[in-house]
């Protein structure tokens, strides 16, 4: 029964999104807070240090945390406004029950828990254990991520657990495991400082990781040359030494051509390749026809610019290559990542000072959350759920027979498909808003409507939660103790600032109670979050993501510890591979052959324009939090379709004219923003909004064959001008239906 119980307008009236501009009581007590809590921003993998000001168990403001080494007080607008998610009028204060025709009504925890547990039991008895699924997210702390993984396997006993990291870093993770045998950025960002050349590819650093911009400028002040690869002139590209304005979906063609150029011009580190890598010959073989001229034709980048970039990269003594979702959200996401790694390995510039490589993890705990077992194929410590030794070790930590440990489940989008097929009947979600964040979301909505039972844990009634039978009022980032792991691999402490308001409960407590009621209470006896972390340490011990030597005390004393950290006297590892001992079976870094193939959907006569999607600086992911903060909404109130003047002229599209963007999956109308800062064959839409303003009505569910990441970054569309000029004053997208 996962249809909306009443009209969406009525739900929005009660639960928002409403825009919060200031604390409900005003700024009372900000000058004399009860406490100043050193913690971290919840928005993005930088996890900037911030101090929250607390008065009367409410967060009333912030103060920069000057000592935290990564950001030294610096923040983006989301960080500045993050405190307004606390004490928000939309905050869920009670568990809610769906009542047909009436909406969502408060209920008791007992009643809500009874419903949840009886439905889990009913569905599993009727259809099998795996018919009840769990979707989680990596804005959760390490403790909660670990707990969700154990909860799914030990309490719910389902294989079908996956997470929204599936839309985030899985391509990078898979690529890094193939090449290095370990999934983490190889360096801390301190190694940017004296890099001679920096490549930033598919990463809109200044909008999605704004505080990282400073580190790149520090390098530039020291003489670094910056190469930005992006279909748009993003803020960082505007001043870059070289901007390669690549056609979406052709990244691996560029990397292949650059690799061939390095080989043809004797710009390889032959000693490194010979002594520390494998697979180079085969990798070079598959790009032998990737000439610069060919790459120019495929990527749309002028040949001289490709050569200039390859020359800079080839001749540098130190360098850093950074990538993010721009190359990873593809049906070739893993191949793109491997193409980048091949360029790094070919020049041997890794494992040395100022020689770095890494993906820039997007979500708050995108790094830690993907290591400790809440993805469908993984166990804590980044262990493999199909590996008998790994299963045995974790089964032992959890106190269950290995045979009872479920196997590999379905990935996030495959779960939606399985719901459509009727194989999965129940869903518990936490920290995930798939109706906004998954591709082809009309298809996702149809799936939700087929569920027999859906329970959502969240602090706001997000768009997906409107389809739930039961909503459990959970906790914000600042309402529980824990740790997260930043994009650099630095484990940092999240300090609890306030208690959940009303009858809302900490997420941990909710999960533990369900586990208890499912009869697994003896496996879930934790005094506090630190106790969960201490079990995680043991569970990760000996795995590639080894946290055993990390303690809360050590993290606090050092303002973060980089894993791997195998023993308590180990200082942590900011820079990987200094010993040249890679974690692959043969101990070498692996080149992987990557030859170009087209994206999942290419343009044709019916759909002649490339559509790509991304983010804006003022919003975070599906917007559950940031579409409720007034000033953030005010910066960029609605999604605009960015279009080049020449392409606009072809269709007689005028500035701010509503343009119908149509793909094979759906259509949406968006005001045109006619700008020269985008390729002439490509339009761009940001994706943070729901309903009719959702870019993900349009995007395809084509998945990478290895990582199963959806191809958000490229599809074919057609543009239909409507003749209506949209008034910016009427912009209203934050609560679109």
């Amino acid at each position: 029964m996962a249809r909306l119980p009443v009209s969406p307008e009525k739900i929005i009236e009660q639960f928002g999104p409403h825009l919060n501009y200031a604390p409900k009581e005003g700024y009372v007590g900000r000058d004399e807070p009860d406490r100043t809590v050193k913690t971290h921003c919840c928005f993005c993998g930088m996890q900037c240090g911030i101090q929250l000001l607390v008065k009367n168990n409410k967060v009333v403001g912030f103060e920069p945390w000057m000592e935290f080494p990564f950001n030294e007080g610096r923040l983006c607008p989301k960080g500045v406004q993050r405190y307004l998610q606390d004490n928000h009028p939309d905050r869920l204060l009670d568990p809610l029950e769906r009542v047909e025709g009436k909406g969502f009504q408060p209920t008791t925890w007992d009643n809500a828990m009874d419903r949840v547990v009886s439905e889990i039991k009913r569905i599993q008895a009727q259809y099998g254990h795996d018919a009840f699924s769990i979707l989680s997210g990596v804005s959760l702390t390490n403790e909660k991520s670990y707990l969700v993984g154990k909860f799914a396997r030990v309490a719910v006993k389902t294989a079908n657990l996956d997470y929204n990291g599936r839309l985030c870093m899985v391509s990078a993770g898979a690529g890094n495991k193939k090449a290095f045998g370990l999934d983490r950025a190889s360096n801390s960002y301190a190694d940017l400082e004296h890099a001679e050349v920096i490549i930033v590819t598919g990463a809109n650093v200044s909008e999605t990781f704004p505080t990282l911009t400073h580190w790149i400028w520090r390098a530039r002040d020291n003489g670094a040359k910056l190469i930005v690869i992006d279909p748009r002139v993003i803020p960082l590209a505007r001043t870059a030494d070289i901007h390669l304005d690549i056609k979406p979906g052709t990244d691996s063609a560029l990397y292949g051509a650059m690799l061939k150029y390095l080989a043809d011009h004797d710009l390889l580190d032959d000693d490194f390749i010979r002594n520390h890598t494998s697979g180079f010959e085969a990798t070079l073989e598959v790009v032998k026809d990737h000439t610069i001229e060919w790459a120019e034709a495929v990527t749309g980048i002028a040949a001289d610019k490709i050569i200039a970039a390859a020359e800079l990269w080839g001749r540098a003594k130190t360098s850093f290559l950074l990538h993010a979702r721009g190359i990873e959200h593809h049906s070739k996401g893993v191949e793109n990542v491997l193409g980048c790694i091949n360029l790094v390995l070919a020049t041997g510039r890794i494992g040395k000072p100022y020689c770095g490589y890494g993906t820039i993890t997007g979500q708050g705990n995108g790094q830690g959350g993907r290591e400790h077992g809440h993805k469908c194929d993984q166990l804590p410590g980044n262990r493999d759920i199909t590996n008998p030794e790994h299963r045995k070790y974790i089964a032992n930590v959890w106190g269950i027979p290995e045979a009872e440990m479920p196997g590999k489940g379905l990935t996030a989008y495959e779960l939606i498909e399985a719901i459509h097929r009727g194989e999965v009947k129940g869903l518990l979600s936490i920290c995930f808003n798939p109706l906004v964040s998954l591709p082809n979301n009309n298809y996702v909505r149809e799936a939700l409507e087929k569920l027999e039972f859906y329970v959502c844990i969240d602090f706001f009634l997000n768009e997906t939660a409107r389809h739930a039978d039961i909503v459990l009022a959970g906790s914000l980032h600042e309402e529980e103790e824990g740790t997260v792991t930043t994009a650099e691999g630095r484990v940092v402490r999240i300090q609890k600032a306030v208690d959940p308001p009303g009858n809302a409960r900490p997420d941990t407590k909710i999960l533990l109670e369900i586990a208890h009621r499912l009869g697994a209470g003896d496996k879930f006896t934790y005094a506090n979050s630190e106790a969960i972390f201490n079990e995680l340490r043991v569970a990760s011990k000996g795995g590639t993501a080894d946290y055993y030597g990390i303690t809360y005390k050590k993290v606090e004393e050092n303002m973060g510890i980089f894993w791997p950290c195998p023993t308590e006297d180990h200082p942590g590892t900011p820079r990987l591979w200094e010993d040249r001992k890679f974690h692959t079976p043969d101990g070498k870094a692996h080149f992987n052959p990557v030859s170009y193939r087209p994206p999942g959907e290419v343009t044709d006569q019916e759909y002649p324009v490339v559509l790509t999607t991304g983010r804006v600086v003022s919003q975070y992911l599906s917007g559950t939090q940031t579409r409720r903060i007034g000033k953030l909404v005010g910066i960029y109130p609605e999604p605009l379709v960015e279009i080049h003047p020449e392409l606009a002229a072809q269709y007689n599209i005028r500035q701010r004219e509503l343009v119908r963007v149509v793909t094979r999956r759906g259509m949406g109308e968006f005001p045109a923003n006619i700008v020269e800062t985008i390729r002439k064959d490509t339009v761009f839409l940001p994706y943070h909004w729901p309903g009719k303003k959702s870019a993900n009505q349009l995007t395809p569910g084509t998945l990478d064959p290895i990582s199963k990441i959806p191809e958000f970054k490229v599809c074919a569309c057609r543009l239909e001008p409507t003749g209506i000029i949209s008034d910016p004053k009427q912009a209203h997208a934050w609560d679109s239906i």
Binding site: A22, Y27, R30, G61, F62, P64, M66, N71, G73, R74, L75, C76, P77, G79, V80, Q81, S206, E207, P210, T211, T213, H214, W217, R218, R220, D221, V233, I234, P235, L236, R238, T239, V617, S618, K631, I635, P645, Q655, N673, I674, V675, E676, T677
Partner: protein, 189 residues
Amino acid sequence: METTAYKTDMEFFVDMQRCIGCRACEMACAECETNGHESMIHVNYVERSTTIQTTVQVCMHCDDPVCAKVCPADAISKDDFGVVHSANTSRCIGCSNCVMACPFGVPKKQEQYDLMMKCNMCYDRTSAGKKPMCATVCPSQALYYGTREEIARMRPNSTPVNTFIFGQLTVTTKVNIMMPKGSTHLKVH
């Protein structure tokens, strides 16, 4: 060493090429109750149709502030540290002379209060040895607050400039704009 007094060797530097248009400075400035939760710093696109470039405008704190000179109510004053203070609320008559006279377009009249308001370089923070809020949070450090020696060491490719020529008028300011190395002034045509 931490001090709680105004640090007279600290200066404000603005580097437009680093501005990413994120508006963290505006958001942070508007947290201040003294400003009535209005931002005193302004980020604007230069011309969005052709470029993503944004500029950021903060009060330049002129050595000889025109805003103060044209104020008929003597509401604007410059202190011994060179900070040009926002209009004294009991004196300001909301005439907007300063708004029209400022060569940088900084003062804004807040109609709801019938008062001119502008940046006072976070006097509450800077007088206690802290940095202004905008320069503290700026994620690209397009806004930097520090000593002249620090900026010379950290940004060897740029030169701070605080002389601005508007036609016949030469204005020198407490706030610096970072310019290409060797620059001595900025001439506004």
